[in-house]
Symmetry: C2
Subunit: 276 residues, 2 copies
């Protein structure tokens, strides 16, 4: 693993690291914020999964999350959103291929050899983080934005016991029923929609739910709200009686100005679960 | 004036606006954060001047300042760092020309027609802001980073009574004695160094000082510290008995990870002066 940069930040260290990934068959880069407390021993870890077109860098520089993580004594990891590189398949559209991994393990060509973000985020990267840094891997929670909110919700519901809490900012809530989803799930997983189910937060809510607290924020002026389909997830939460806070935030849109506004809430929400 | 964007942000509005500038002879773009309180009447204004290579956008997206400005009920303005456009003189070096206006009114060719950032920031933009938005122009303070810290300090000391307080993150403290300064002051103002004096914070501290509180933060691991020459300003502050806090922050560098870490302190510092 190579260190790209380390910057002092809110009393801790904001690092960027690159490593060869078996899951993705290419080099992968991630950001990791370690609070001051990590100098004395392992700290809990909050995952932040980013949205379409993002790299590890967007949330790391624009979400303002380190301020609150430092206050709560939490580490933050910012993974990339897809495999990358010259030898990695790509597409001209912004919402397929590099920058748009959708947090699945692709089974279809040309994506199958590299597009294994599910395995990367749920297996390879946690193993690497736990072996390398002062992280208490028994205390993990997960959040994300847009496509990353989809990833956070589906991982939390598919892996019971892994995450103490889950939250999302403007998540893609029902990809099997929206243009942000059907195209990508077809490309990565094929036309058989039974393989899609576990990658749809609304369907997973009806099937499994989440054994822990859940927090979801969506801006009432989100310019992509028709693609996110929050109404399907809200109905599934209500039908299941899932303990959750589902909030429409008046006037906010899909941008990082929205994410940063509610980041303090989300980090405090996860800290409550992680320190319980 | 044209509105480029407005995003809900921490209960207020983060806007971006473009207008034709008489001072600079081109279109200029700035960011303006208005807290919720601006819906009910004029609010105090904190200026943030950015550093080399930056536009209006860097601090607006990476400094995390809106969180604290919202808490304190302050507006924030993020001006650009130079004139821009095809008809505007430029240089191949990152530290001269577009993105590197150095907050002076150039008198030398080819810079003189457009490079009038002093007049733009101290006259034209405040007049426009005061006439257009709910801002209490009797309550202004100023801060900045690197070249912008230089701008903030020199404007505050040259314009007694304008700003209630001044602060800076890793400012260029002594441009007449450093490679970040001599080259640009020569290009913009000519070889006669008497014209440079008022654009040097260390010299202005010895000549005039500042009638109000001053806060300066510099990282002890700042990779550009030899170009900033903080020792000259520290000595001038001490010699003058200027009321000021001059802090070397252990382990921090020149990045926005440093700026964002101490932004809460700086906004609270200015709020104390602005609401007094």
């Amino acid at each position: 693993m190579q260190k790209t940069s380390e910057n002092a930040c809110f009393g801790g260290i904001q690092g960027v690291y690159t490593h060869p990934s078996d899951a993705c068959g290419c080099d992968m880069t991630f950001g990791l914020f370690l609070p001051q407390e990590a100098q004395d021993g392992p700290v809990p870890l909050l995952w932040y999964l980013s949205g379409l077109t993002c790299t590890h860098e967007n949330a790391m520089t624009k979400a303002g999350a380190q301020a609150w993580a430092a206050e709560q004594g939490l580490a933050l990891v910012f993974p990339d959103t897809s495999p990358r590189g010259d030898g990695v398949a790509d597409d001209e559209d912004y919402d397929l291929g590099q920058g748009a991994g959708f947090y699945v393990d692709a089974t279809q060509d040309p994506w199958a050899p590299n597009y294994r973000m599910w395995s990367y985020i749920t297996e390879e990267l946690p193993a690497l983080l736990g072996a390398t840094f002062a992280l208490d891997m028994d205390r993990q929670s997960i959040t994300g934005h847009s496509m990353g909110g989809h990833g956070a919700l589906t991982m939390a519901m598919n892996l019971p016991g892994r995450f103490r809490s889950v939250s999302a900012f403007s998540p893609i809530c029902n990809p099997t029923g929206a243009d942000w989803g059907r195209k990508q799930l077809t490309a990565y997983l094929g036309a058989d929609e039974t393989a899609w189910e576990r990658h749809d937060a609304s369907l997973m809510m009806r099937k499994a739910g989440f054994d822990g607290p859940m927090l979801i924020d969506i801006g009432s002026n989100d310019q992509f709200i028709d693609l996110l389909r929050p109404e399907t997830l809200a109905a599934a939460i209500a039908d299941r009686r899932q303990p959750a806070s589902f909030r429409l935030q008046k006037g906010y849109d899909h941008s990082y100005f929205f994410v940063s506004t509610f980041m303090e809430d989300h980090v405090a929400f996860h800290a409550d679960a992680l320190w319980a």
